[in-house]
């Protein structure tokens, strides 16, 4: 499954870059993520909790910054869910563009594969939640950079 889109942040590209290459800061802006722990400069781990009806599941993940060359970022993520013990692998490629000194575009492409029983429900959950996650991520990044959220726009989405 591929999810792609872009968001616009009312802040200079270098400030956005500093924020998104810091795994702890970035993950604190992603809803549902908890227990984030940085392993080394490029690796961190954490957990995401999702409930679908009566089923509560934790998704423990390990994430690696594969490429970090301004303005391009590539993150690889692997994880296992607690309910089905299925494996999810994802590669997220993000790229910053700057239309003017005070605005930065962030384009992303996530390529996700789910192996195991999670595939029965996982894609629906990912697609269902992606839009709100991106919106919240955008709001949070903006708040961190500007403090108000003004000037943020979602240019496209999954």
């Amino acid at each position: 499954m591929k999810l792609s889109g872009g968001i616009e942040i009312g802040a200079p590209a270098d400030q956005v870059w500093t924020l998104i290459i810091d795994p702890v800061s970035l993950s604190s802006c992603i809803p549902g993520v908890s227990h984030v722990r940085q392993i080394d400069e490029r690796t961190f781990e954490g957990s995401i909790t999702v409930s679908v009806g009566p089923v509560d599941g934790d998704f423990d993940f390990n994430s690696t910054l594969v490429r970090r060359e301004f303005p391009d970022l590539e993150v690889r993520l692997e994880g296992i869910d607690s309910v089905t013990k299925s494996r999810l692998e994802a590669t997220v490629v993000a790229s910053l563009t700057s239309s003017d000194p005070s605005h930065t575009g962030l384009a992303y492409l996530a390529t996700i594969s789910v192996r195991g029983r999670l595939a029965i429900l996982g894609e629906m959950i990912l697609r269902a939640t992606a839009g709100l996650i991106i919106a919240e991520l955008t709001r949070c990044l903006q708040a961190r950079l500007e403090g108000s959220g003004i000037g943020v726009g979602k240019t496209d989405g999954p």
Partner: protein
Amino acid sequence: MSIEGAFDLIVVGGGTAGCVVAARASEDPALRVLLVEAGPDPRPIPDIVADPKRQSELILKSPYVRMYDVAREDGSTFPLLSGRIMGGGSSINNLAVVRPMRRDFDAWTQFGGPVWSYDALLPLMRAIETDRDFGDSPIHGSAGPLQLHRSFKLDDPADPPVRALIEAALALGLPACPDLNVPEPYGICASPYNVENGRRQSTAVAYLDPARDRPNLTILSDTTAMRLVVNGTRVDGVELARATGPVVVRSASVVLAAGVFHSPQLLMLSGIGPSDELARHRIPVRHHLPGVGTNYQDHAVVYVTFQGTTDLREDYVIPKVRLIAKSDDTMDHPDLHVFMRPSIRMRGLPPMLPVSIHLLEHRSRGNVALQSANPTDLPVVDPALLSHPRDVRALVGGIAVASRLAAHPALAAFYGALLTPGSPDAWEEHVRTSYITYYHGVGTCRIGPAQDPGAVVDSGLRVHGMDNLWVADASVLPVIPHANTNLAAILVGEVAAQAIARA
């Protein structure tokens, strides 16, 4: 378990229909019947299978579900499922008991003749069921093995969102449909389920359990059929893989009830199928039958998600009601099932409320092919769903139906904006890139007359060109019904049992 000597009938596959055939055939004490199932036959039936409240766990965690990865046109993948346990799909499905519509029988009649008409098969449909709600009705049964009832009636007290859904549907002009097993159901319907005293009534329970003690019925579980032993126009027996090694069991007749994926696979492994496909795997051609594995059909499903305005915690895994709706108001019949689904919750986000839209009729056709000549390799399935643009348009129409429903004031207390897909401009792409299925595959050994090149079995389900070989599962259905397929598979099992008894 002795399998010495010859049997009168071997039923290959203890799935939904196979259990029916084995139970019905063994009612004749003079007939020695062997039922072979690749999966286990756990006794007593584990709670995770028997208890409907554990349906999500059953699908997500149990060892009784087999997955077949298939691809969409864009290369993304999703799984098809089958039940790998005695009872097959009826042991793992959502327990819905939904009859095909009259128009489905009309369609089948085009391929199988008048014996497949609604009127001809109504006595069998009645004989299958004990309908605790409508058993006295002329179209229902009150003495059949399959117990079913509607745990919720449309005028029962209900959770507020269920009541609001009913109110919204009625306000939008959809009729109340207290019994969706009428010939032409339409509207907001109470869903019947095969649950008795809180336990699943699979065909392993409803049909096979009462027959287990018969001395003329032998049941082998955990036993894979490798191929049929074909001798000219006859099948002499079945080669089985047992823990102790391969064994050939002789039989006067054989019924394949291995399901929409494995019945065509077994035919092809045995040299019965399209000669080019057999040659590709260096399988000697015993009988060229080009229709084997073709004509695959399923029900495509699309999920859309609304923002929840409240945190619904009700369990809709087994939905109380379903909408039977039209994707296009100009249609003369419904072509959709629509369900409210359980909320998705994630810390830091408002609740999300999915709605699933199920397309009940398809112009697209896929196929099942061999991966190899090795019987333990799964077949390769190309469902080719939504390869016809009309099917895509119908699901886009379904999103509009769900949106109109969610926007109705009665539901506004629960359903907010449509999140995924957002604007109507994105609906078609969402349909094309995210559809899954209702897990209702049919059609890969379809009924038709001998002169029909796509036909595999005749109207009595006997394989064309073979004297003593039948197929009895949903693979024989030439056109997918506008309904869940489990009851149709049970009906096929009943038809096959009668046809074999007459042969």
